[in-house]
């Protein structure tokens, strides 16, 4: 089904989407989206929602299953506390993408803002992944507790750096794969660079191939560059911080 969201208040729009999902709709196309917030929030099931236009903040918060295709930029905090599902953004996204995300995947073609992947988690079979095609702002993967963050640095203009400052500050779980070297001074003090293993190579290949399938890149070309693996020094960075009064 198609919904023309021109001039529509977010509350009405989201209600229409939820009603359609409840009626078993499998594909919903939203046209003329222009900043409406909370699209897909708390929605469960296996529906595909195509968003034509720029959705507002907190898209797919607490979402559990659906697939969201954004044919424009995203704004702040898409995939906030997302439990499962997939988001493909054909553009850039703002700050705190995937805050406390527990499952599912997010693919962003271009760049992302600050604190992306903050406090991302994993639990049992849920291992969330965020793949960013361009560059990321400061505090990438802050407090990261699980999951996979991948940064590709594709098509960056000369002199543009892919990783911001304080990368992985407070990280205590999960893994980051960066396509290219990260200068030491940009790393949070809880993070170290380690050698890629075969398992890592396979995981990177799988995610890169999926990324390329959405955005038309050649996987072989993307994989030709060296990837670096970042993990936390310690799963308990603050374990020795306290003494009992």
């Amino acid at each position: 089904m198609r919904i023309d969201a021109k001039g529509m208040y977010y509350r009405q729009l989201n209600q229409l989407v939820k009603e359609a999902v409840a009626q078993g709709e499998k594909e919903i196309v939203l046209d003329n989206i222009n900043g409406q917030r909370y699209i897909g929030d708390g929605v469960r099931g296996d529906v595909r929602i195509v968003i034509n236009g720029t959705p507002g903040n907190d898209m797919a918060a607490y979402m559990d299953g659906p697939e969201l295709i954004v044919n424009a930029n995203g704004q702040d905090a898409p995939a906030n506390t997302m439990n499962d599902g997939k988001i493909v953004i054909h553009g850039s996204a703002g700050d705190t993408v995937g805050y406390a995300m527990r499952g599912g995947k997010v693919f962003v073609r271009n760049n992302v803002g600050y604190r992306v992947g903050i406090h991302m988690k994993e639990y049992q079979d849920k291992v969330p992944a965020i793949v960013v095609g361009g560059k990321a702002g400061d505090f990438f993967g802050e407090y990261m507790a699980g999951g996979i963050l991948m940064l590709l640095g594709l098509d960056l203009p000369e002199g543009q750096e892919m990783v911001g400052n304080y990368c992985g500050t407070g990280m205590h779980g999960g893994v980051m794969y960066v396509r290219g070297e990260v200068p030491e001074y940009k790393l949070g003090k809880e993070v170290k660079v380690v050698e890629m293993t075969e398992v890592d190579d396979a995981k990177v290949k799988e995610l890169v191939e999926e990324f390329c399938s959405y955005f038309g890149y050649d996987p072989a070309e993307v994989l030709a560059e060296k990837f670096y693996k970042l993990i936390p020094f310690n799963k308990r960075p603050y374990g020795n911080l306290y003494c009992t009064y």
Partner: protein, 500 residues
């Protein structure tokens, strides 16, 4: 004196005439203060391990044990007390942040004890609640600006609210900081007494979904255990911004306490630290808070009230005004004496302001701005008894949260060692040998008894004032008079001095 320069805090006195060396104390003490000396064939004690939780004292079948404060051995000094000296020894030995449990124990003024309630004499009759109806029914949530009726029936659509039979709820304490049996006790007691308990930031155990109708689910910066099922399981959602015991800082559940059940409920791997960042990183402003409130409302289809909990800090009134305008249905204000499962000592004892002043300031501010009806106020921290409840409501609270008092009803003896995970009363621990000491059936009954007892007392005090509905006391500060308070204090509290 041990090598780390520390002397014991407490003395374990064992009356050898009474002790039968049965070793009950040995088995009861998770701190290993008692042990059996096989060679001597008698039970011996190590004073330095004792935390004065009184478990062995209560359990000793012959009453052979008593715990006393270790006599002060330092030279007297009003500035450098034994406590301050020992703190430095501990930090010098470890380089660690002093961490503690329970609320601020320092002798700051307790304003509850400086406010006295009114009663009717001659000019208006008092009411006997044993024979006349007395209404304590409380609704938590937004109040509509006006009510419209058609043919005698209410046609205004009411916003989602919580309906309480008594204006007392159990405060947020996470599964992880307290045991599942403690959660079960509070959940059952809530259902029994028509009130609510709060999950804290630690998810809702699957066995407790059945109490969803009496549950407030919390969403905090770590988002532990938060998924659509959880959000829809409760009767209301509370966003935790801050906590009275540790305003401005986050939480940190050490991996030792994350066993498989805690792990399953928080949805994080077993044995990993559960770190709640100090701020929500999607909230840097009132507008951002509005966004989180409405993302939660969207995710629950506007069927649940969404509240915001903050610590009482200097600008609490202005912050509360912002929260009301951001669309919250209730605001929880947690004073500087609020309890904690673990907090840095210095923060616990030195940050935040008293709840009584904060509550009065918030109620006054919201009234002045004409937005008091937009939100309900839940006052949290340092409610010790039913008269504290009545005073809080007269100052402007819609209801109060009790945490410490609830745990005391379950058997807590206030040793302030919640952070160690070795709670001998089975409350603030995940050790299966300790948690089984708290029977949730008995716990529920004791917590429910406490609520029922306070309910009777509240009715008595209301009746004494000639008031037959709690609603008539709400923000009715004429029912309070201050003693031993400065003009400034009286002014902020909005009450007259006794005799005026």
């Amino acid at each position: 004196m041990s090598l780390d320069l520390l002397t014991p805090e407490f003395l374990i006195e064992r009356d050898r005439n009474r002790c039968i060396d049965c070793q009950v104390c040995v088995r009861q003490c998770a701190n290993e203060a008692h042990s059996f000396d096989a060679e001597e064939e008698k039970v011996v004690s190590k004073d330095e391990k004792c935390v004065a939780c009184q478990r062995c004292v209560v359990m000793c079948p012959t009453h052979a044990l008593s715990i006393r404060r270790f006599p002060l051995e330092f030279r007297e000094n009003a500035l450098w007390t034994g406590r301050t000296i020992k703190d430095i020894y501990k930090q010098a030995a470890t380089g660690g942040i002093l961490s503690t449990g329970m609320g601020n124990d320092k002798p700051y003024p307790i304003y509850w004890d400086h406010m006295l309630l009114n009663a009717s004499q001659v000019t208006n009759p008092s009411i006997d609640p044993l024979r006349e109806p007395m209404e304590l029914k409380t609704f938590i949530g937004r109040k509509p600006e006006k009510l419209e009726f058609k043919e005698g029936k209410l046609i205004t659509k009411l916003p989602p609210r919580m309906e309480l039979d008594v204006p007392i709820l159990f405060s947020a304490m996470s599964f992880g900081s307290i045991s599942l049996n403690a959660h079960k006790s509070l959940a059952r007691a809530s259902q029994q007494e028509g009130t609510f308990w709060n999950t804290g930031e630690g998810g809702l155990h699957k066995d407790l979904y059945q109490y969803g109708g009496n549950t407030i689910v919390q969403v905090a910066s770590g988002r532990f255990g938060v998924d659509p099922e959880y959000l829809n399981a409760g009767a209301a959602i509370e966003i935790k911004i801050g906590q009275g015991a540790k305003p401005g800082i986050g939480g940190h559940l050490p991996g030792e306490k994350v066993n498989w059940e805690v792990s399953e409920t928080r949805m994080i791997p077993e044995g990993t630290d559960a770190i709640s960042p100090a701020p929500h990183h999607d909230i840097y402003s009132i507008e951002d808070l509005h966004q989180l409130i409405f993302s939660l409302k969207e995710a629950t289809n506007y069927k649940k009230p969404v509240g915001v909990k903050i610590a009482a800090v200097h600008n609490v009134a202005a912050i509360a005004s912002g929260i009301a305008r951001a669309g919250a249905d209730f605001i929880t204000i947690d004073g500087f004496r609020g309890g904690t499962g673990s907090a840095p000592l210095r923060t616990r004892d030195s940050v935040g302001i008293p709840i009584e002043l904060a509550l009065a300031a918030v109620d006054t501010r919201l009234r002045d701005e004409g937005i008091r009806g937009l939100v309900s106020i839940i006052s949290a921290s340092s409610i010790r008894n039913s008269s504290d409840v009545v005073k809080a409501i007269a100052l402007g609270a819609d209801a109060v949260y009790i945490g410490t008092a609830a745990l005391i009803s379950l058997g807590c003896h206030m040793c302030q060692k919640c952070n160690t995970g070795k709670c001998n009363w089975g409350i603030a621990t995940q050790d299966p040998n300790l948690t089984k000491r708290l029977n949730p059936e008995i716990g529920a009954e004791r917590a429910a008894n406490l609520i029922r007892a306070w309910k009777h007392e509240i009715k008595e005090m209301l009746g004494g004032m000639g008031i037959n509905a709690l609603e008539s006391l709400r923000g009715n500060r004429l029912m309070l008079r201050g003693v031993w308070l400065s003009d400034r204090d009286l002014n902020i509290l909005g009450i007259k001095a006794a005799g005026e």
